[in-house]
Amino acid sequence: MIIQAVLLVHFLLPAQIAASQSSPEAAKLLQSATDAENRGDLEQTIADLRKAVELTPWSAIVLLKLGDAYMRKQDYGEAIPPLKRAAVLSPGSLPAHRSLGYALLSQGYAMEAIPHLEIARESGALGIAQLQTDQPEEAVINLKNALAQNPDDPDLIYYLAKAAAALSSELNERLLAKFPQSARGHQALGQSYYSAKMFLEAEKEYEKAIALRPDLPGLHLELGEIYAASSRWTQAEEQFRSEAKAQPGSAEVAYRLGDALLQEGKMKEAAEELSRSDSLRPDMPETLYALGRALAISDPNAAERALDRVIAVEKQSPLAAQAHLLLAGAHRRQGKPELAARDMEEYKLIHNATSKPEP
């Protein structure tokens, strides 16, 4: 999204400016390139610009136009040489530095991209490059500035979150360097890794925290959630069981354990644990849905009761839609096609009303 915006600006460079720096023959080629560009024929645009560069190798603007044409073709590798030359010929040209910075960044040369992006004052791309070169503190500052200008840019939001997580990890590492025996320090670092989807690293930190303070509430639960996020359900179950021993009255822990058992296909044990969670805190829709799922095949009547309660609590939410879908299956198996069809209809209505357009 960022690159596209930059290229739009660059292609507003009038052909006349370039033509004023070139020979009549080159001017013709530039005009032809512009016409081809207007027709959407990028191949011809590039061919004309390459010829124009041969005739006017001193023209930074022609080189810039060629580089930008390559970038529009997503041919970032080819864009780099003309853009580098344009930046040398015209060191004050912000567009040349901007395009070169993006081209280098997109080819993985983040360190090389940074000085050009600094000159061009491209704070968003600069922040990304800094993040990729292990400078999270600087990255956070620049990405926040960029986001202030474009608050809805999903790329910027993603990279800021990633930079913040990296910064958080760095700070936690500093904390742990001073206090290596701090279970909370390892837990905090684990949380940072988890939010950055660095599951293996997160797992190691939680293991260290648990080794230091096995009694600390929440550690097994959080480690179990890491395992669950990567579908390692046996290990998740083990952690949730340890947490359930420490917090036998926690409905959430009982739910997590029940859900892990459900994912492992241990339907009977799952139903028991989910029922226990339901008795600890009634009407938690996720618990009731999971209970309905656990009972769907073995006890359709009990499943129906749990799913009816989900619908009563949730009404028109995606979870209510899922409950209707499960109910439809239960009704089909019970030989009640009319009820199944009704539930499928309800599922469709709620699903269509609540589902977001796909990215």
Binding site: K197, M198, S231, Q263, R293, A296, G329, R332, R333, P359
Partner: protein, 548 residues
């Protein structure tokens, strides 16, 4: 007294200690394929053209009827950077050819591609999959190759050579074809052809997704859907495109896998299409030349939580020995592979968790799949070849891997448990075909992976009994595709289709456990029923369709 106490203490300890479960024996041996030098050359580029990550198929067939399975491998092609129209995938270069390997009596293979006339699959074709069937009932298996481009039908001349009859037969299709399969939808004794197509994609429509400096392949939703094609076999060597008349083209999708079975027992073969990131399609055969898509109301369209599966490969056979064909669909990670249990009366229930498959699959990307009784215990097991779509997936999610080992799930009375495949070699798995390569009575597998040679999984065997049946239709199609075969209570639907882009050994294999005899019941597509009693186990047998 003291001794008695000690003994009783020992006994009580024994009684309460859980019996240690033996660690599973490796089922397969990853064997060097002597004589096979094929490399699946998909030619990935930094531009992430979506075709690059999708090939390629493998077929196990006995093309020369010598009783030994041969191997046909589909290659992809060279992808120029950038890829411009008119496309040229350099398929004239031998390193991009599809290859046919004839199996020799000593278990080695000889490349007979040129001898068979199967070289150079066309410079404008990027290879995808393969289907095998004897479409002209001459007793020799024919080969259909799918491509991004134009598909190819090779007629087996019966003398070790093939002839490209695509134009005459009228089955070139076009666009981006993926899995295909031969089946007889109207029970007229001639095999028809179903071709799934993936997306409305061209190099011009190609996009790169992901983030700056971390580009990745775009999800299918970025492109338009495509329709599947149904070709009706006229019985004279030509086919008619009946996609519109049959209703198949009324519903475009993102088709990648296809499998056939008669799920409602009405005597007509139905079609399941594994779609990527949309609802799955179950095409019910109405018995009058038309099909109705019924997955949603049958319970086979979505996972149990209402999620759309990223359907890749599929099998349509009975996993729990209740006599009804079920569905298992491989897909991308963070959701289990789909398992749709056939509950009878035309309805399915998503039982990915109950079946045990869920616990074995949540973090993997599955493609080719086989549902075969690998340990001959009378229950069909699952083998899935795995590997992610994105070569840089680890940078997006550190819990995922581009290269993965295969999954072997052993069936214990209808519930799947993790088995030991015999190799944990991580590959970027795609195609998979299954059959008894060395005729020892134990089903083997051949899998493909991007950028590598195929893997041969030779079954280590054991002591259980088995029987393998070759059908020979008379009134029905000669391959007997579409027959329902029941052996000692187990049911198989006769087909070579299923998996992903691939075609299996057409022989029907049944594990018999400790039983050394069996009873066989066949319902042929013609409607003829045939029964054999007291058949000795541990042999290959051909059953010819009776007159009535």
């Amino acid at each position: 007294m003291m001794r008695i106490c000690l003994l009783s203490l020992l006994f009580s300890l024994c009684a309460i200690s859980p019996t240690p479960r033996p660690s599973p024996e490796p089922r397969f041996k990853l064997s060097p394929a002597h004589g096979i030098d094929f490399v699946l050359r998909n030619s990935p580029t930094p531009r992430k053209y979506l075709i690059e990550t999708m090939p390629g198929g493998v077929a196990l067939l006995d093309y020369n009827n010598d009783g030994l399975l041969d191997i046909f491998l589909v290659n992809a092609g060279h992808v120029a950077d950038p890829l411009l129209s008119p496309v040229n995938f350099d398929r004239h270069d031998p390193s991009y050819w599809n290859r046919l390997y004839r199996q020799n009596k000593d278990g080695t293979f000889t490349d007979v591609t040129v001898q068979a006339g199967l070289q150079n699959a066309g410079d404008t074709n990027y290879g995808m999959g393969v289907a095998v069937g004897d479409y002209d009932n001459d007793g020799f298996p024919d080969i259909y190759v799918t491509n991004f481009g134009r598909n190819l039908l090779y007629h087996n001349n019966g003398d070790g050579t093939f002839t490209d009859v695509t134009t005459k037969a009228g089955v070139g299709a076009g666009g981006w074809s993926t899995s295909a399969g031969f089946f007889d939808y109207d029970n007229d004794g001639h095999l028809d052809l179903f071709v799934t197509r993936y997306l409305d994609w061209t190099p011009e429509k190609s996009k790169t997704c992901g983030r700056i400096a971390e580009p990745m392949y775009c999800p299918p939703g970025e492109f338009g859907p495509a329709t599947s094609i149904l070709y009706h076999n006229r019985g004279n060597g030509t086919f008619e495109d009946v996609s519109a008349a049959s209703g198949i083209s009324a519903k475009p999708g993102h088709g990648l896998g296809v499998a056939f079975s008669d799920y409602d027992g009405d005597g007509f073969t139905d079609i399941f299409v594994a779609n990527d990131a949309i609802e799955q399609f179950l095409w019910h055969n109405n018995g009058n030349g038309t099909f109705t898509e019924v997955a949603f109301n049958s319970g086979a369209a979505l996972s149990s939580t209402g999620k759309k599966l990223s359907g890749m490969g599929v099998v349509f056979q009975d996993y729990d020995n209740d006599g009804l064909p079920d569905l298992i669909v491989t897909q991308l990670p963070h959701e289990p592979y789909g398992v749709f249990h056939n509950d009878g009366k035309g309805s399915f229930s998503a039982q990915e968790l109950e079946s045990g498959i869920g616990a074995l699959s949540g973090n993997s990307s599955g493609w080719g799949i086989g549902l075969e009784d690998f340990d001959n215990d009378g229950w069909k097991d699952v083998f899935i070849v795995q590997g992610h779509v994105f070569d840089n997936v680890h940078s997006y999610d550190s819990s995922l891997s581009y290269r993965e080992p295969p999954l072997l799930a052993l069936n214990r009375n209808g519930h799947f448990e993790k088995g030991e495949p015999g190799s944990n070699l991580p590959v970027v798995g795609r195609g998979a075909a299954f059959g008894d390569l060395n005729n020892d009575g134990w089903v083997d597998g051949v899998t493909t992976s991007l950028g590598e040679r195929p893997q041969l999984y030779l079954n280590r065997g054991g002591k259980s009994h088995w029987i393998a049946i070759t059908l020979r239709g008379n009134r029905s199609n000669r391959d007997g595709y579409g027959a329902r075969v029941q052996v000692n209570g187990q049911v198989r639907f006769a087909t070579a289709s299923g998996s992903y882009l691939s075609s299996n050994d057409k022989r029907l294999h049944f594990g018999l456990g400790s039983m050394d005899t069996c009873g066989i019941e066949i319902r042929w597509p013609s409607g003829i029923r045939q029964e054999l009693r007291g058949v000795k186990a541990d042999k290959f047998m051909t059953i010819e369709e009776s007159e009535q």
